[in-house]
């Protein structure tokens, strides 16, 4: 399995994705830094223009990193898997002496792993920037995290797991429609579902909802590879 994952990275030119992920991380970092210390989210009178409950710095950090990486994961799943079906390189893969489920699972794990690590590192980098920045400057948002506590790290990891796993729903939809676009649009809808708010109603702060959604995503992940052995290609 490990070998298959490595081959996926090599085949799909993972360096390109690393470059994009690093650039995204830097942009996010600068943006959040500007939100916190340069007052770009402030009203002209200097007060923060944020809804109640989102005036803490973790709110924009979670929102923007989740958004970025949920879409990015879906884009990668689309180009690793859906495109492979479309350009028939998947048919080639299926003539190898390897179980089809294993082939597709390796592709999904390859993308999942990459984005999980990238998301965790990006978040850590941003939190560190804010943490260091807050020592010298006044943040517009309330600094509501403690990088010394274990809970902070556990939460960060779990949230990353949830976001990256959710992209399997997008993959399932993309595969059903045989369309990369469908996968990416689904990832946008998932963001609306998980991060947006309608008036005061939002699922962003809910703790049970992401757990349910992660479980649902895993079901979708299993469904995407369940039938692959018996299908005609």
């Amino acid at each position: 399995m490990l070998k298959l994952i490595k081959l996926e990275y090599k085949k799909n030119n993972i360096k390109k994705y690393i470059r994009i992920a690093v650039i995204m991380a830097i942009i996010l970092c600068l943006f959040i830094f500007a939100l916190a210390f340069l007052g770009i989210a402030n009203d002209p009178d200097g007060t923060l223009d944020a809804a109640s409950g989102t005036d803490v710095i973790s709110a924009p950090i979670e929102l923007f990193t989740s958004m970025t990486f949920l879409i990015f994961t879906s884009v990668m799943l689309a180009s690793f898997i859906i495109s492979a079906y479309k350009d028939k390189t998947m048919n080639l893969m299926f003539t190898y002496p390897i179980k089809r489920q294993k082939i597709q699972a390796s592709q999904m794990i390859a993308v999942w792993l990459f984005n999980f690590i990238a998301l965790v590192l990006t978040k850590l980098a941003i939190y560190m920037c804010i943490f260091i920045g807050a020592k010298f400057m006044q943040s517009s948002f309330m600094v509501d995290f403690n990088i010394g506590s274990l809970f902070f790290y556990v939460q960060l990891l779990l949230k990353a797991v949830s976001i990256v796993t959710m992209s399997f729903i997008a993959l399932f939809v993309g595969m059903a429609f045989k369309s990369s676009k469908a996968a990416i649009i689904t990832s946008f809808l998932l963001i609306l579902l998980t991060q947006a708010n309608v008036g005061d109603l939002t699922m962003a702060g809910n703790t049970i909802f992401p757990v349910v959604l992660t479980v649902v995503s895993l079901v979708f992940a299993v469904l995407s590879i369940y039938n692959v052995e018996k299908k005609d290609f």
Binding site: K11, D87, T89, N91, F94, P97, E229, D232
Partner: protein
């Protein structure tokens, strides 16, 4: 007799439509099997079932003496194939594509990639990305990949598509060489008989999803109709001479002046001499052999 590849009443129905019906193929080890049929006859469908990309609705496929199951994988270590058209990772070079193939096949033999590239004249383009290859080059790279891991059985779907005549000749020679020197068994599909007749040992003809005939090349030559066509002025007299003087019985009168003699081993000189001796004026005398092409056309159009 044991076959390296055998299909037994193979059938495939898609959306209620019969794509392949009752196809029986028998391929012995070390032979080149020409799988012949017009476009849309079901060649690719059969080959997809042989390589397990499609699961048969009816019948079964046996490879190396074992029935192919939905979950058969190990058997593909012993096979190489091109199905439909060769697909590649277009952004990678030809060489990288072959190297990936080795990795997935679990075949580690140093130098085999370069050797395969050399066999198919692709050394100069080895490091170019496949997206810059011409159709013919892709086809050759596909063949290189199919034979790369020294498979025992090679399934090639229209492998000479997009090749120029010189290229075709070269590929045909390569196939023969693979068969004689490496002991590979090849199944090659084509809609052009001329591509296959010079190299195949056995030919299977498929049309409209049905197997029309499976026959050894030598047998075709034997069963092929050979005839001498005579055009004479006095037909009655000519027929009389043939029957009485030459004791021929297997001939047919066509129209007012043409006679076809189907008797095996009849020499044209002998016929003309005998007729002249009997004062029958001969307008023309020609010898005909029904070519494999005619045979193939008869096979596929006579349905």
């Amino acid at each position: 007799m044991s076959y390296i590849l055998q299909t037994d009443h193979l059938g495939k129905i898609i959306d209620g439509k019969e794509i392949v019906t009752d196809v029986n193929i028998h391929i012995t080890k070390g032979e080149i099997y020409g799988f012949l049929g017009p476009n849309g006859a079901g060649k690719t469908s059969v080959m997809k079932m042989i390589t397990n990309l499609w699961k048969p609705t009816n019948g079964r496929v046996s490879l190396f003496g074992k029935t192919l199951e939905t979950t058969s994988y190990e058997v593909f270590k012993r096979m190489g194939s091109i199905i439909e058209f060769p697909t590649f990772y277009e952004h990678l070079s030809g060489k990288d594509n072959l190297q990936f193939h080795c990795e997935y096949m679990g075949y580690y033999n140093k130098g085999s990639v370069m050797e395969a590239l050399e066999m198919l004249n692709l050394i100069d383009s080895a490091d170019k990305p496949v997206k810059n290859y011409s159709l013919g080059m892709k086809q050759r790279l596909g063949i290189a990949r199919a034979i790369l891991c020294r498979p025992e059985l090679v399934i090639l779907d229209e492998p000479t598509n997009g090749l120029d005549p010189a290229g075709m000749k070269q590929i045909r020679d390569l196939f023969k060489m693979l068969c004689t020197e490496y002991g590979m068994t090849l199944m090659i599909s084509s809609h052009l008989l001329s591509e296959i007749e010079s190299i195949a040992n056995t030919i299977g003809v498929i049309n409209q999803g049905k197997m029309m005939k499976e026959i050894a090349i030598e047998e075709i030559a034997e069963t092929n109709t050979f005839y001498v066509e005579l055009v004479v002025e006095d037909m009655k007299r000519a027929a009389f001479v043939l029957a009485e003087n030459m004791h021929l019985s297997n001939f047919k009168i066509i129209g007012d002046s043409t006679i076809r003699i189907y008797e095996q081993g009849v020499a044209t000189q002998k016929v003309s001499k005998e007729l002249m001796l009997n004062d029958v004026a001969i307008l023309s005398i020609t010898q005909h052999t029904e070519s494999l092409e005619d045979y193939f056309l008869k096979m596929t159009q006579g349905v």
